[in-house]
């Protein structure tokens, strides 16, 4: 346990000056900022439509959520998985990392956990900034009706679901980035995976949940329809099962990897 915490602390220390770390903070800030700015500059038009509070919130948060499942989240996950491993590939530090007097599994688990934490932070900030910017818009222009409904519970749930749905992709991409040190393979495979995921998810293929890349899209489309209340739906289970199996498989790969 101590090994794990030390390794995790070191992961934060190592990457605190890298893009991967800052992207978790800057990405939600920029996207939420842009949407809020769009709402503010079109305030008159939007207010004229007289949306009920809840619909207004849905419209507002949908700006980020719409592209989230299909694009932002999968790409961010792919990038995170790449970047956590690339820091060791690039500097040729796998050897020295595994020659430390620390439990091998903790070193690996800390890396994985670090990626999970960053994805969590990123999604948490998306939810937080959406809510804050909504209330900020209300404060700037009292014509909005953001104050008539609290979206906290709903948005937390959606974003938490997004988080769970991304873990399958993370584990898969984590292994790919672990095996290959270059940028193109994880990105290429990830890109094809995302496209395939979008296709199977939107075409409503019965077994779409077998494709990890489809999970965020599926999770999101479910929330729009009947399964809104259900947190642990089919694709979330599938994502978690993928995550666990591939996480364990990744350990065996990393334990062999240090051979070279």
């Amino acid at each position: 346990m101590r090994s794990l915490l030390l390794s995790l602390q070191s992961e934060f220390y190592k990457s605190r000056k890298t893009l991967a770390f800052w992207a978790a903070i800057v990405l939600p800030l920029i996207i939420c900022g842009l949407i809020a700015f769009g709402f503010l500059s079109n305030a008159d038009k939007i207010i004229k439509m007289h949306f009920p509070s809840q619909v207004l919130w849905m419209n507002f948060s949908g700006g980020a959520l719409g592209v989230m499942g299909m694009l932002i989240l999968p790409f961010y996950v792919i990038f995170m998985a790449f970047s956590v491993n690339n820091i060791e590939h690039k500097n040729d530090t796998w050897k020295s990392l595994f020659a430390q007097p620390l439990n091998k599994f903790s070193i690996y688990a800390a890396k994985y956990l670090y990626a999970v934490i960053l994805i969590f932070i990123c999604l948490f900030l998306f939810a937080l900034f959406t809510i804050l910017s909504g209330y900020l818009l209300q404060a700037l222009n009292s014509g909005f009706t953001f104050n008539g409904y609290s979206p906290v519970a709903l948005l937390s749930k959606i974003y938490f679901k997004m988080f769970l749905s991304s873990l399958g992709i993370l584990s898969l991409q984590f292994i790919i980035s672990l095996i290959w040190s270059d940028f193109l393979k994880p990105m290429g495979i990830g890109f094809i995976g995302i496209i395939a995921g979008i296709i199977v998810a939107t075409k409503g293929w019965e077994y779409a949940y077998f494709v990890p890349y489809s999970h965020p899209t599926l999770a999101l489309s479910m929330t729009k329809s009947k399964n809104m209340d259900q947190l642990f739906s089919q694709e979330i289970y599938s994502s978690l099962i993928y995550a666990v199996i591939l996480f364990v498989a990744g350990y065996f790969i990393v334990a062999r990897k240090s051979i070279k």
Partner: protein, 302 residues
């Protein structure tokens, strides 16, 4: 026999079907500087990786500090520091941050990092990005990282690789100081014999995975047989004369004849004999095959 810090017993290691370490029995005594010599690709780095448990050794073949490595991995690693191949440095962090990161992993105080920077002479470059360091600076930072936990045993894989003469001398002095003043045991690999000859107390010579020689540096010297080099006015005639008088000639060139050295008295007798038979002796002296040649011979015959 002193305590053995490193001991391998008939260690074999394969990459696929290729045998890269062949019946290796290393014995490294406490407080020694063990020069691990061999040409490129002889199995030095592989052996060091086995000692770090990066490559898994068969059970009961590798012992560090008297304990089997596979079952005492963490305890053993705690007591050693290593520099394998290129120094493992995060290029986007400064030299100081690289050391802080390692302090964190090892759970030791950060003040130790400053101390190490001073020791390897990187104080002025502490806040510079390690990626911008020169090769020599990187190597020194690598050594600082290896020394950070104040380990009893240091495994250094070609630590002077790519350094300029000044850097080589610095590292060499540092190693001698660590062994003599701080009683550390050092295993240092190299393909340069001259380098090892200057610092090592013990030598192991490896080629194609096999240990060809292991012993003290003096034992290695003793292996090289002394010879007499003789310069005469008439080499062909002298050669003929000596063979008829029962001398064994090892080698002769246009200017020199080389004979085995037996004793100084025998040298004098040879001189008198030659002069009495009308030869002019220009010079006669004892030579020793230098270690460089010895090394080549040892590794060639394998």
């Amino acid at each position: 026999m002193k305590d053995l810090i490193i001991e391998t017993r008939g260690l074999n290691y394969y990459f696929g079907t290729q045998k890269v370490v062949d019946d290796l029995s290393l014995k490294v005594e406490k407080g020694s500087i063990y020069g691990f010599l061999g040409p490129n690709g002889a199995g030095k780095t592989t052996s060091i990786k086995i000692l770090l448990n990066l490559l898994k050794s068969p059970a009961d073949t590798v012992f560090l500090f008297g304990k089997e490595i596979n079952s005492n991995r963490i305890a053993s690693l705690k007591r050693l520091g290593a520099l394998v191949e290129q120094p493992a440095i995060y290029a986007h962090l400064s030299g100081e941050e690289n050391l802080y990161n390692r302090c964190m992993l090892l759970g030791i105080n950060r003040t130790k990092a400053k101390e190490m920077l001073r020791l390897v002479g990187l104080e002025d470059a502490a806040s510079k990005k390690a990626g911008k360091y020169s090769l020599g600076m990187k190597q020194r930072l690598g050594i600082a990282l290896a020394l950070l936990s104040d380990p009893e045993l240091l495994l250094l894989d070609e630590p002077t690789n790519g350094l300029d003469p000044n850097g080589i001398i610095e590292i060499r002095n540092l190693m001698i100081e660590l062994a003599t003043k701080h009683q550390k045991t050092i295993l240092v690999s190299s393909h340069l014999l001259a380098e090892i000859e200057r610092i090592a107390t013990h030598v192991g010579i490896i080629n194609k995975g096999k240990l060809l020689f292991q012993g003290t540096i003096n034992e290695l010297h003793d292996l090289s047989k002394p010879m007499i080099e003789l310069e005469l006015n008439d080499i062909p005639k002298g050669q003929e004369f000596l063979t008829t008088n029962g001398y064994q000639i090892l080698n002769s060139t246009e200017k020199k004849i080389i004979l085995p050295f037996i004793s100084t008295e025998e040298c004098g007798r040879l001189n008198t004999l030659l002069i009495q038979h009308g030869f002019t002796v220009y010079s006669i002296y004892q030579i020793r095959k230098d270690l460089e040649h010895l090394f080549l011979d040892i590794t060639k015959n394998n």
